[in-house]
């Protein structure tokens, strides 16, 4: 692959790529991001072998793409041209797809998406899950091969970089990003352009400035950044190069991507993409003849949630344990190795090329508020959410800022699983809060979520139904954070452990009425006296559940009752008259405390039951109740 030495050469190269591409060429795109968990890699092998056996392997491409978003229906396959959408495809379906769809052009009804009324949806764009979204960052994921820089360039990739290097000054780029109102997608919502400006203006004696991409996506139940890195790594790289130019040119900008070790595919694809960008001269010395020199290294995290915090992340890159430090001096002035350092989240970086390519006016037309003259005045652009939990359509959802929770959960998410009742939605990960049904019409943006005691966070959105115990949810997050606390501040280290023990005893039926007041008081201390955002926001899940679901706490304490049927000490299992006497639960009970004969109603001996729930899990007749 030849190096590209100028912006005009880049455009020439792109024109060549486009001219050589046959828009009618058949391609089978298989999601190999989250769908790997469904066995999509076996599906890819089956397609490749099947094409070879038919002598079609040089006529039809098999693309291993990033996440298409509709994880609920995986493994997902899209067939081009025409964007024919097949869902829940198994290796056993491959021969039929090749014979019918690829060779004869026939659609296979069984694999297509059906609405409840039987209407068949042929393309991704028709399916309600996709139709109600605004996919700017994720749109190329179902056609783009993340292993091919040519795919990215053919779709217009690195065009924004070309535009910047050919005709803009670094200051102009900073102003553009500032005017766009882009705010940090990692959760803080700090205006990206303001950060860039501070970092650019901070003195550096040797001209070194660090440009960091925070891909330590640690919020449980969130995988947007993973999808971007696995599906479209070059978009993130392009954003970072533009950032390096805006913040560090002329000078010596250097880049890092700090990525979770739990995302091996993201690490691999990013590594390949960086190598390809270097070969093309898009990274390295004198990028596109502009004089800009910039390269990016990958640092893998070691599974510590706190490393998503900027100063902890920088400590980890420096080779230390990931402990945060006080930010009396901001990292934009003295961050990594005491140099001016600009850190943005993956999704923020991926937005940068879009903004530079299409302009401020286009970007600010999407979203809420007014950011003219005040970058904090609104939330602009789209946001990707990981819509998960007890919702019908689990997946990645990209919507304009300001979309309501109801639109996301019901119009896109298809409502609650198994016809159950909605109870709460948790946003913002362990730093966020749980919002009840009366907040469903809340427009989702940075400021609205904060007002009601939650936060945007990185975009996890966990839906909970009537079978979820809100005290248990608070307990889950408190234990998570107590485990992940780095231990530096005593209020976080010890305070969280105390909060855990109080909530534990409430869940075990030993709560006292005065515990609620104690929880309030301790929560305040933890959030006031901790150094970093982990500690400061740690009580949020507890506080928001105590605010919106106080009656559940009171029931646990006063009536020893868990309405979600989750807290083991407060529930009992029993067998109802739907029991057919199949003996399965009796066989599987680890305590052997179920008695009964074949074809006769079984009974659980409560004195021996450890409430493990195995009987309920294995019963095919819905005959085990939790009380």
């Amino acid at each position: 692959m030849a190096r590209i030495d100028s912006v005009s050469e880049l455009e020439k190269y792109r024109a060549q790529l486009v001219a050589h591409r046959d828009p009618e060429r058949k391609a089978i795109s298989v999601c190999t991001s989250g769908c790997i968990a469904y066995g999509a890699d076996k599906l890819v092998d089956a397609f490749r072998q099947g094409l070879k056996a038919r002598g079609l392997d040089d006529k039809v491409d098999v693309k291993t793409t990033g996440c298409h978003g509709f994880c609920e229906r995986g493994p997902l396959v899209v067939i081009h041209p025409g964007n024919l959408f097949y869902q829940r495809v198994q290796p056993g379906d491959v021969d039929e797809i090749l014979d019918e769809t690829i060779e004869k052009g026939e659609n296979i009804d069984r694999l297509m998406f059906h609405l409840d009324d039987g209407t068949v949806m042929a393309c991704e764009d028709d399916v309600p899950f996709y139709k109600n979204q605004k996919r700017l960052l994720l749109k190329d994921n179902s056609s783009l091969d993340p292993y091919s820089i040519d795919d990215y360039i053919a779709l217009g990739g690195y065009g924004a970089l070309g535009k910047v290097l050919a005709g803009m000054k670094p200051d102009e780029v900073v102003t553009t990003v500032k005017d766009s109102g882009l705010r940090g997608r990692g959760g803080g919502g700090f205006p990206t352009g303001v950060k860039w400006e501070s970092c650019r203006n901070a003195p550096s004696d040797d001209g070194v400035r660090y440009i960091i991409c925070n891909a330590d996506e640690g919020d449980p139940g969130a995988f947007m950044d993973r999808a971007l890195l696995e599906g479209n790594p070059h978009a993130v790289i392009e954003g970072m190069i533009i950032g390096a130019f805006a913040i560090g040119h002329p000078g010596k900008p250097q880049g890092y991507v700090y990525v979770r070790n739990e995302y091996p595919i993201a690490v691999e694809r990013l590594g390949v993409a960086l190598e390809q960008a270097r070969e093309k001269g898009l990274l390295g010395d004198d990028i596109l003849g502009s004089g800009l020199s910039f390269d990016i290294r990958i640092n893998k995290g070691g599974g510590a949630f706190v490393c998503g915090e900027s100063t902890a992340l920088m400590a980890s890159i420096e080779g230390d344990v990931g402990e945060p430090r006080a930010k009396h001096i901001h990292t934009v002035e003295a961050g990594l190795w005491d140099k001016p350092t600009n850190l943005n989240n993956v999704e923020s970086w991926a937005n940068v090329p879009l903004i530079l390519d299409r302009g401020v006016e286009w970007f600010t037309a999407i979203g809420t508020g007014d950011v003219r003259g005040n970058p904090w005045g609104g939330s602009k652009g789209t946001k990707i959410f990981a819509l998960v939990g007890k919702v019908n359509n689990t997946g990645l959802v990209e919507v304009p800022m300001g979309t309501t929770l109801r639109e996301i959960i019901y119009d896109i998410g298809g409502g609650i699983k198994d016809g159950k009742e909605f109870k709460a939605v948790q946003t913002g990960g362990p730093s966020g809060g749980c919002l009840p049904a009366d907040k469903l019409d809340l427009p989702v943006d940075f400021d609205e979520l904060t007002k009601v005691g939650s936060m945007m966070g990185s975009g996890g959105m966990i839906v909970m139904d009537e079978d979820t115990c809100m005290v248990d949810v608070a307990r889950y997050f408190l234990h998570f954070l107590a485990d992940e606390s780095c231990g530096k501040c005593i209020t976080c280290r010890e305070g969280l452990v105390q909060l855990c023990s109080i909530v534990d005893r409430i869940c075990e039926g030993n709560g006292k009425p005065e515990d609620l007041e104690l929880l309030d008081e301790l929560s305040e201390t933890v959030s006031e006296a901790s150094l970093c955002a982990l500690g400061q926001t740690a009580p949020n899940p507890l506080r928001s559940t105590m605010k919106y679901f106080r009656e559940e706490y009171e029931e646990h304490i006063n009536e020893k009752k868990c309405r979600g049927g989750v807290c083991k000490s407060l529930i009992t299992y029993s067998i109802n008259d739907k029991c057919t006497g199949c003996l399965i639960c009796k066989k599987k009970c680890p305590q052997q405390c179920i008695s009964g004969e074949k074809d006769k109603l079984h009974v659980i001996d409560q004195s021996n039951c450890i409430k493990c729930g195995v009987c309920m899990d294995v019963c095919k007749y819905d005959a085990v109740d939790v009380n």
Partner: protein, 156 residues
């Protein structure tokens, strides 16, 4: 780990103390855990205190200071998996194999680990056994997966 192997790893990372995390990851990838002698050797070669190596190894969840079992069973404890009953899966493995989360069975057959989220929330609750994902788990399925594993081992 013999000296040549360790030196290869150290050289790959330019013997740079800033790369300590990556060096320890590479050692664990070979050894399945972090042997104490290797950690001591790393400290000596990088000219940093052993306490620093030890603090890294204990700070990051990815490291194990004990040898891990032949099979690794990882239960995802992300929020989506939690609300779908992941804790029950952990309980079940703990009960059936007499092993604590983070521990290994006495016969070194199985290590039970938990992870905060693997980003495959549509499949929750989810368990990964030796790198293979098993989604939408319940008590019956878990039983089948692990029984199959035992059976395979008995054959070998």
């Amino acid at each position: 780990m013999d000296d040549t192997k360790l030196n290869t790893i150290l050289d790959k990372h330019h013997r740079d103390p800033a790369e300590l995390l990556a060096i320890l990851m590479d050692i664990q990838a070979v050894e399945n855990y972090l042997p104490k002698d290797d950690m001591k050797q790393v400290a000596k070669e990088l000219k940093i205190p052993f306490s620093k190596v030890y603090s890294m190894a204990t700070f990051f969840a990815t490291f194990s200071l004990e040898p891990r079992g032949k099979h690794i069973c990882t239960v995802c404890m992300g929020t989506a998996c939690h609300v779908r009953g992941a804790a029950r899966l952990v309980d079940q493995v703990q009960r059936d194999f007499e092993v604590e989360a983070g521990g290994t069975t006495d016969d070194m057959f199985l290590t039970l680990e938990t992870v905060n989220c693997v980003g495959a929330c549509a499949l929750g609750p989810l368990m990964i056994v030796d790198g293979e994902y098993h989604g939408n788990m319940d008590a019956g399925k878990l039983d089948r997966v692990l029984r199959k594993l035992k059976k395979q081992d008995a054959k070998e």
